[in-house]
Symmetry: C2
Subunit: 112 residues, 2 copies
DNA sequence: CGGTATCCCAGTTGATACTG
DNA sequence: CAGTATCAACTGGGATACCG
């Protein structure tokens, strides 16, 4: 189970999964959708998701070639708990930011 | 939001949070509960959770001193989506393992 | 007991360049 | 377009030692 959570919890997986929600996307589109991800990391993340069976890869023999990635049913099912988490994060973002500011301020005032 | 998700998605946070579910725990207990975590990492994780307001720290002036950590209401609320995710991981662990094996086997057979 | 301070290596990532 | 290859830089985190 650690293995599964580790994959989902890595820096890019969740973002990629969410970028694939709804529609299948092409490589280049994903690259533009996920902020700051590099080709290298996008490729790696997609391969790992494919390996885990969360994403499927479809190559179209056009020129230039286009490759589409889409969520498998398993990948789709993962989106539910992931959305719940994202919603939680979104709902409590401000609170957490405030808590951080208070904490950091507390350190700053007692130390210098 | 990335900042929030990054914290939750790191190697230890989720494990520590879940170890704190239900009861408050002392430092040493957490150290033993979370497999393979070091003092250094446990301390760091707890500080970050405290900073984010998910965990509160309570010092008891006994000898030797004891320190208890407990989930704040915010931390408690985080547990819900986290449990949903853990349940998903648990439910699909076998499927994913199988997918990985199939994928790795496919690579192994076509390459050597 | 519950930390903090250092050191340091291994693995991850970003940049860059090249290819089918 | 959709990758792969290579290499340097950065960083997480383990090991270890010491402190209140």
């Amino acid at each position: 189970m650690r293995n599964v959570l580790d994959r989902i919890g890595d820096k890019w997986t969740m973002l990629v999964l969410m970028a694939l929600a709804g529609e299948p996307r092409r490589f280049g589109v994903l690259l533009r959708m996920v902020p700051d991800i590099s080709k290298r990391m996008l490729t790696q993340t997609l391969r790992l998701l494919e390996r885990d069976g969360l994403v499927t890869r479809h190559v179209f023999a056009t020129t230039p070639p286009s490759v589409e990635y889409r969520l498998s049913p398993l990948g789709l099912s993962a989106l539910e708990p992931l959305h719940a988490l994202a919603q939680w994060a979104d709902a409590n973002f401000a609170t957490i930011r405030a808590s951080r500011a208070r904490y950091d301020d507390g350190l700053a005032r007692t130390d210098p």
